[in-house]
């Protein structure tokens, strides 16, 4: 499905009058560069994927031999499982909250850091610090304490006259506290933005400054277009990761997806079906539906990217 939609990176410009031998040498070279990936992708990815695709058409409890049941898992998922649909809604809510906020925060901090001269290293490290933690059990317990009844957030908000109570034990609010855990750990996209910002030639800004362009104008006409490949990368990857979100939800809800299934995101439900209930066939079917869904979203992103992602080697110079 993505095969038709994803655009491979642009190849070398048409080899004008290039010799065949040279072309073949390049072909051969490509496969040398690719060889580790080809082995890994075949043995460690393609093979297990094929197995899981097969399992998705079986009743497999991990202990006894899988039993072929055709599309039963899929029909059950779509027509008989209300919790499945709850997990879909929960995941979509999460994606809509977490992805834009995390990217916006990461980009804002990255751009701010770019114009900071003093203490750059300190800021970068400090902003990255939360991301060093992952979603360990310790951080889960801290999160639960902070977002509990009478916890720091509750105290702060009630001090301002907003009375929500604990977030982690309120069905409407719990998913927000999970999303905040992800947003809080915005270090990875921030670093990628930072590295991308470094790639923008300073001349562009200097020329713009000479022309008297405002900050906002520079941001819009230089930073955004020049950063667009990286922005696109972050968007695609954060989106994919958000659809697959597992650890923050698992950690904050202690693996249960509670309260009242309100943090039971897709992958957490998949894990619950596969490993707790030992319906590995059903879990595999869920995985493939997710793959197709993410593939579709990614394909759409790749398609729209033609309109707004700018690659240095597509045109000659500058980015006006």
């Amino acid at each position: 499905m993505t095969a038709t939609a994803t655009r491979p990176p642009d190849a070398a410009p048409p080899a004008t009058g290039g010799k065949r031998a040279r072309k073949r040498e390049r072909q051969g070279a490509a496969w040398v560069f690719l060889s580790p990936w080809v082995i890994g992708a075949t043995v460690l990815t393609l093979l297990p994927m094929a197995v899981s695709l097969y399992l998705s058409f079986t009743d497999y409890n991990m202990f006894d031999a899988p039993r072929w049941i055709g599309f039963r898992n899929y029909t059950q998922m779509f027509t008989e499982d209300p919790r499945y649909w709850r997990s879909v809604t929960t995941t979509l809510t999460y994606v809509v909250i977490a992805v834009p906020l995390q990217l916006a925060l990461a980009l804002a901090v990255a751009i701010a850091l770019k114009s900071v001269k003093r203490g750059k290293g300190f800021y970068r490290s400090a902003f990255y610090a939360p991301s060093l933690l992952g979603a360990s059990m310790s951080i889960a317990l801290v999160w639960r304490a902070i977002f509990n009844d009478g916890g720091s957030v509750d105290n702060l908000l009630s001090g301002m006259g907003i009375d929500i109570g604990g977030w982690i034990n309120k069905p409407g609010w719990a998913i927000l506290s999970v999303a905040l855990l992800t947003i809080w750990q915005f270090g990875a996209p921030m670093v990628i933005f930072l590295a991308g910002l470094q790639q923008i030639p300073a001349e562009l800004y200097e020329a713009a400054a000479v022309d008297g362009a405002s900050w906002w104008r520079q941001f819009r006409s230089i930073t955004i277009p020049m950063l667009s490949p990286v922005l696109f990368f972050n968007l695609v990857l954060q989106m994919i990761q958000a659809f697959q979100v597992f650890t923050p939800a698992f950690a904050v809800s202690a693996g249960k997806g509670g309260p009242a299934d309100s943090t039971l995101v897709y992958t957490l439900y998949l894990y619950d079906r596969g490993f707790t209930a030992s319906h590995m066939g059903y879990a595999s079917a869920m995985a493939w539906v997710l793959l197709l869904a993410i593939g579709l979203v990614t394909a759409v992103l790749f398609r729209t990217s033609r309109a707004w992602v700018f690659y240095a080697n597509d045109t000659n110079e500058g980015g006006r």
């Binding site: 560069f33 970068r124 995985a287």
Partner: protein
């Protein structure tokens, strides 16, 4: 990594724009304000590691009533007669192996995808992206069976070998995106000088991709370090356990848990990743400095 002898620090792009002092100060104030909020949970984590057993969960106050240093001495004793030193070494071994693997294999694959022409490139690239999309829980068991067949269970290979085979498509994609941002003229020039694809990869492209490689190294280190589930599934002997695994040994639902020492060990386990990050983050600054892009 070979061509850039010019170590002269070059001011980061954009810094050339002079700003009035008040604006700079406002910026600093804003950044520090955001930081304070962000670091609060971390402060909580550290504070909790000093809390006595009855306050770790029950107390919703930041500071402990008195400092329980015992948490740290328990944590430093290690777990199951395996000392903290050993656990630390094991974690480092896995993380460093993974970093080496990812940096080498992902940059190779990325170069082919970004810069070379070969048959099936489109479909293969799409397939690579697709491999990021399948939740890894679904392929856990097939993968386990493969590693078991290879006799690699209870070794570090299941954590390291995949990295040498570029299975982290995330990083291949990351490096591809960076390489695509590099002007094509560079290689054209190299080709005119008679460089083949290998020479232009090693001496032109790779040095310029350094920010992406450093990024890959940092993320791989941290993510491998924190990857509890893979380590849990594949490691058997406590002597081979990592800090991340040992952390969880303090908590058991069927008996009494030791949350205090777990927090202490969390803080301890954080130190190596902090050091790793501090050591490498400054290389991100270099960026394109002296890369030839400027002139």
């Amino acid at each position: 990594m070979t061509t850039a002898p010019s170590t002269t620090p070059i001011t980061a792009p954009g810094a050339a724009r002079k700003r009035p002092a008040p604006a700079r100060i406002t910026l600093h104030i804003c950044l520090i304000a955001v930081l304070l909020v962000m670091l609060y949970p971390l402060a909580w984590l550290v504070a909790t590691s000093f809390k006595p057993a009855d306050e770790v969960i029950a107390s919703l106050r930041l500071l402990p009533s008195h400092f329980a240093w015992g948490n740290y001495s328990t944590a430093l004793d290690g777990v199951n007669e395996v000392g903290v030193g050993r656990l630390l070494w094991n974690s480092l071994l896995i993380a460093c192996g993974a970093v080496l693997g990812n940096v080498i294999s992902c940059s190779l694959a990325a170069y082919a995808f970004a810069r070379l022409r070969f048959r099936m490139r489109g479909p293969l690239f799409a397939f690579m992206i697709a491999t990021i999309m399948l939740p890894h829980h679904a392929i856990l068991i097939p993968q386990y069976i493969i590693f078991n067949q290879l006799g690699m269970v209870n070794t570090y290979w299941p954590m390291i070998l995949p990295k040498f085979l570029a299975t982290d498509a995330f990083f291949v994609f990351l490096i591809v995106q960076f390489m695509r941002g590099l002007p094509r003229e560079l290689e054209e020039a190299a080709r005119i000088d008679g460089c083949g694809p290998f020479r232009s990869f090693f001496s032109v492209i790779l040095p310029l991709t350094r920010p992406a490689l450093i990024t890959t190294a940092i993320f791989t280190f941290i993510w491998t370090w924190n990857d509890f589930f893979t380590q849990l599934i594949y490691l058997f002997e406590p002597e081979k356990f990592t800090l991340t695994l040992a952390l969880r040994s303090f908590v058991d639902a069927s008996s009494q848990s030791a949350f205090g020492p777990m927090f202490a060990m969390s803080v301890f386990a954080l130190l190596p990743i902090v050091l790793f990050f501090l050591a490498f983050q400054r290389f991100l600054v270099e960026g394109m400095a002296g890369s030839g892009l400027k002139g």
